[in-house]
């Protein structure tokens, strides 16, 4: 009974994670420019990955594999925004300003 409940929860998390990854992909296609596309891609980075990894953890139970999955989740949450920042900052330094926005007046370069 308990095992079944865990299995159902795990599958629900895997499906929800897959849905978020899919929505992230749709968003990347629909958004108008680089910066807005990155917002959509972060759906895939965060809740999508977390739900998928959480579902897998429930599948593997209390084991070394679960601990490794937890480590993967922590490392992804630390590195994904760093990579996003590198991409966004490179685009900004290359002189590509986000569509439809202006720099705040009090921002000093």
């Amino acid at each position: 009974m308990m095992a079944q409940a865990l299995d159902i929860l795990s599958w629900a998390m895997l499906l929800a994670g897959a849905t978020f990854v899919f929505i992230g992909g749709v968003g990347v296609l629909r958004m108008p420019d680089l910066y807005t596309r990155m917002h959509a891609a972060s759906l895939t980075d965060t809740l999508g990955t977390l739900l998928l990894l959480g579902g897998l953890m429930l599948q593997s139970g209390l084991s070394l594999a679960t601990f490794k999955l937890l480590a993967v989740a922590v490392f992804l949450l630390l590195t994904a925004p760093t990579a996003t920042y590198a991409l966004a900052n490179a685009a900004l330094l290359a002189g590509r300003l986000p569509k439809g926005t202006t720099l705040p007046e009090d921002f000093k370069q």
């Binding site: 929505i23 910066y35 972060s42 809740l47 996003t84 920042y85």
Partner: protein
Amino acid sequence: MHVILTFILLFAAWLLWSGFFKPLLLTLGVLSCVLVLVLSRRMGFFEKGFFSLHLIGRLLPFWGWLGKELITSNLQVARIVLSPSLPISPTLIKLDALQKEPIGQAILGNSITLTPGTVTIDDHDGQLLVHCLTESGAQALKEGEMNRRVAALDD
């Protein structure tokens, strides 16, 4: 001293996660740990601000709060992506980081980027330039709850 401690931690992690004990692979493991140490040293990792344990203690409650923010903002952005009219209003705002140390500013910048709908695109002397997907998201960020919570991490 810090270098040796870090090496021991790194190699223990390597052993735990690989589970390999062949001489060739062990050598490669040691080499990769040394490479990490050399790179960390070049980045000034050992000069100051090493392993502050009280930071780790405060980090866990902060992660809990951040997790809650992650879920709500994920749902908001998912709704925007799926609505046919694509109701976005991209906005750039400047945020003055309340944190003095670079590590605090890095945590703030990364937390902003991690929550969907806001991306840090520049950090210049504690001035963060943030790109927001919607104006309401920009307003919420300007209220500064995340800024204060990150600043409270390293008092």
